[in-house]
Symmetry: C2
Subunit: 670 residues, 2 copies
Amino acid sequence: MQSDDLREYRPVRGGRPGDRYVKVVEPYAAEFRRRAPGHLIASERVLEPESGLGRLADVLRKLVIGRRIATDNEAQERLGPVKGLAIFASDNISSSAYATEEIMRVVVVAGAGALAATTLPLTFAIVAVLLIVVTSYQQTIRAYPSGGGSYVVASDNLGRFPGLMAAGALLTDYVLTVAVSVAAGVAALTSIFPVLYEPRVWVGVGFIALLWVGNLRGLQESANIFAVPTYIYFVAIFSLLAYGTWLVVTGGLPPYSAPPEWADAVPLEGLGLLLVLRAFAAGSVALTGTEAVSNGVQAFRPPEARNAGLVLILMGGLFASIFIGISFLASQLGVIPDPSEQETVISQIARTLFGAHTPFHYLIQLSTAFLLVLAANTAFAGFPRLASILGKDRFLPRQFQYRGDRLAYSFGIMVLAVVAAGLLIGFEGSVTNLIPLYTVGVFIAFTLSQSGMVVHWWRLRDEVRGWRWRAGLNGLGALATGVVAIIVGVAKFALGAWIILLLIPLLIGLMWSIGRHYRSVEAALAVDPASSALPRRVAPRVLVPISRIDRATLSALAFATSISADVTAIHVSNDAEDLAQIRQEWERWGGPVSLVILESPYRALMGPLMAYIDATDREDPAQPTTIVLPEFVPSHFWEYPLHNQTALRLKLRLFFRRNTVVVDVPYHLG
Amino acid sequence: MQSDDLREYRPVRGGRPGDRYVKVVEPYAAEFRRRAPGHLIASERVLEPESGLGRLADVLRKLVIGRRIATDNEAQERLGPVKGLAIFASDNISSSAYATEEIMRVVVVAGAGALAATTLPLTFAIVAVLLIVVTSYQQTIRAYPSGGGSYVVASDNLGRFPGLMAAGALLTDYVLTVAVSVAAGVAALTSIFPVLYEPRVWVGVGFIALLWVGNLRGLQESANIFAVPTYIYFVAIFSLLAYGTWLVVTGGLPPYSAPPEWADAVPLEGLGLLLVLRAFAAGSVALTGTEAVSNGVQAFRPPEARNAGLVLILMGGLFASIFIGISFLASQLGVIPDPSEQETVISQIARTLFGAHTPFHYLIQLSTAFLLVLAANTAFAGFPRLASILGKDRFLPRQFQYRGDRLAYSFGIMVLAVVAAGLLIGFEGSVTNLIPLYTVGVFIAFTLSQSGMVVHWWRLRDEVRGWRWRAGLNGLGALATGVVAIIVGVAKFALGAWIILLLIPLLIGLMWSIGRHYRSVEAALAVDPASSALPRRVAPRVLVPISRIDRATLSALAFATSISADVTAIHVSNDAEDLAQIRQEWERWGGPVSLVILESPYRALMGPLMAYIDATDREDPAQPTTIVLPEFVPSHFWEYPLHNQTALRLKLRLFFRRNTVVVDVPYHLG
């Protein structure tokens, strides 16, 4: 047949019985616009629920997530540098709230003297690495204006395996970013509200839920929500640093009181090279989040690359200033990290300078807390984007490509939130327990991405002027990050980094297998449309298993006879009474379908039925047997377990049988 | 059509392509025997699995459960009085192992003197009630030779509601029987093997699993397994009683040493009426299990009623002797129940008479332990039988009627095992915690059943000679058990019986609702076969949602065109690139099906598709729309989550849509 299935009719609601074919010129009325023959465009109307409950759910959903955005309006979701900084730099800048502390926590075992001697030099070393990375990434952004995450750059230049390695490392790290940032944010809150210390895990899970919903609202909206706290943090922290520096210069620093648990006794170990390297590794956490900008270039307004590059430079500058400032003040005051993890170093500085529980102390703590939670937001921007690229390349399930009502990658956002919350619960919300898992992955990704860039310039050596210094710059980046990756991996190995070094290969293996599976299935299913005529089939052989004659059975038999002339009803039983009854009912009915009774002496239903289908199939293997199942649909879902258990078993069994088509004919009551 | 679908053909395995219709005289070869036109009898062959793994599972299954038994051979599963006693009386007789102890545990708070004064008189009182019940039930068995459980008798004579009340009370009590007996059996074992005390809950769960499997093997087989321990118990316990009585008569009773935790100080309370009633209530546990015989008359060989009556009398006699004997010896020795529940009263008697850890002490303990576990077996005979009757009457889901390979009610057995194990775990395997829940239900059932019998005789007053004394006898039974029910309910109310008194009405409500639901559905579906012509239907309107042209799609389209001439393929997308590609592929293909493209600006798949189906439906509401879904079946089940997520969502959504038929066309690789 070649009917024009686009008959122009207007569906009428509540039309009279005679009105069945109301053809009008206007096609499909409110639900669809017609673009071309055979091409309709759905309006937003098709998404509106019809039931009262559905409409209520829709209103709630719009309140929480917002109105739907059409794909064509994607541009309105893009970011300028100001909001871009809030979204993409918050992870990195928030590290300034705990990087100093992480260094000090390692060094403190060598005593207060060691703290004073090493904190600031290590800070400068880490800032130096950051500067190399930021400069190096400027080139990546310009070379990959459509988004140059480590996965893309490494796949493109080094091959599929290094690409997947970068992807695995980054996916793990994004999840850890959420868990660590939220844990650190909650720790900052418990410094001022000790009552939150007990339920800290659930406070953290609550924040993750907020981030989940906020991100479902889309990029623009989440930037609106989350930009304000970032800028409040800048104001608060720079005021603190300025006032502190002023006191240092004028020599008016107030005296510092160490935490009560701190016993300034004999140092536990000496200040050896290994300890310094471990402290450096701990502080390198500061570099996480740099990746997100280059991964998300396409989230910026045009000129995308320029805006992204600008955000990256701003980020580096702001981060370096805060990190150095805090390390400086901590060294000057002689701050000791709280062994009980109940008060952060920044809180101690603010408390010493302004007094405990003063408004400014609260301001510092609250803005830090919110910025730390926001840092997780960077991961919410990065993870789903990377997962969707991997989904498109078939290394992850297709669902990661779905974009929700507000163009956010809903599935990826959900997976990230759930896994991170699980991690937070598993590690009982402790920053110190989570940190060792962190940072390894990000430096592996850095190294792969920068090495990839070196290959990139080498390949373009005949086209790009100055390819040597460009390759050299990226090479320096690869070298610096590679060395840090090794230091971090070794220093944190026993503390937990081994989990990550085990997990990344597993992830690579998983993605590799998924990719291979999808590709092999695609190859097996592929056909050349031009040479694939539809096989002409005769009407199928139809079997209808029935237990009695009722409305549901009749409805199934009516459908069966409408699709084929070869219909047989089958009744399986072992009860003599039941057999006599069905036979008698069938005779009274006298319908145009023949009945086969399968007596089953061992009471099994499935066995005889399957054997009969087998026998029927052997008669003509080319023709698929079609099983039509009468299925009663109860009015309420909780009544479902009382019905259709047999149909369910039958469907499950038949689904895996070759050449068998199962047709459910649901019968609705009332 | 009126084709004779019983073409006589012999399915050939590995026949050549030309051989498709090999008609032979012998019908259906090995799989089926032909009884009449349209009536085939399946052989055991149809149940044999074809895959290697399936065959292995089948062998294992036969090893554990045994060979299948055909329904016609049901008679071989029936029991004579000897095995019948082992199955149906073990519950009641095993109560003799703890009934004395239960009385003593209550009275002990009034001091050792109270123990000596009340134990034996209370024992006689309970035995008196038992004798009344046994005599009264003799009549029930004769009046209901097809099985006269309380549910049947109460429904028959008092109405549906009292019937369900009896059923609810009995179902709860059967579950408790399993939990209590197994807990008591394990307690007997821990008396001699204290190492089992720690994992007692799991030892108990292990026993329940054994009972599960044993009962799946069928009645006969479980009697074979479980009869021996019952008779060993008789020999051991009567030897103990004989030797003990001999020592009492000759005055040679050895001195008894009380448990170390027993502080023979001031009694905690005086011996009041309430305490005596509570002790009586505790001891009435002895009457549980009497119901099972009259419920299971049909499990006996003919003459069923005589055999069942004989077993009931034997049971009463044996139980009374043991119960009185133990109470007598315990009083003579001055036994004190062990406060820590680590040693039973019987163990204390045996230990005192024969010495601790002597072979005879072990024999008594082991045989008691096994008999107690066996008592649970009575519930395994009773619960599934009662549940299947309730299933047949539509008060429980149909599954309870299924009989497994060995004619056992597999589903009921499973439910009983799982719920009882849950209870055992929930109550941490403690007999004392479980006992208060017990016994209330059984006495409610007794009372209802005996009252029903009174009505029964009244109704037959013109036909039955001596109906007055018969009704009087049953009336006495009803009175005695009714009084005990009240005593037990009041005495144990606060200890836990309230749970049961709350649970029974809930169960009644649940069964009532299930019954009403089934009946209303049946009424709504019922038709008169003689006046129900099959509506003549034109071939359905078929929609095939597709995402691309591949083998799976083509297979679905081929099926669609085989069942109707009105087929439309539908492609939903919002990606311009994808749209162009499908359009081009479709044109290259040029098959006999028209394509409708639904562009979805908000990326939703379900909404536009449902709206389109709605629109199509409105065109001709009489004709069901049929949706044909291409569904790819992966080679391994773990690959399934990577595919068909969309098909699954679609099916779920469409299943609840009226007048819509969904057809799965599975495509198997390779």
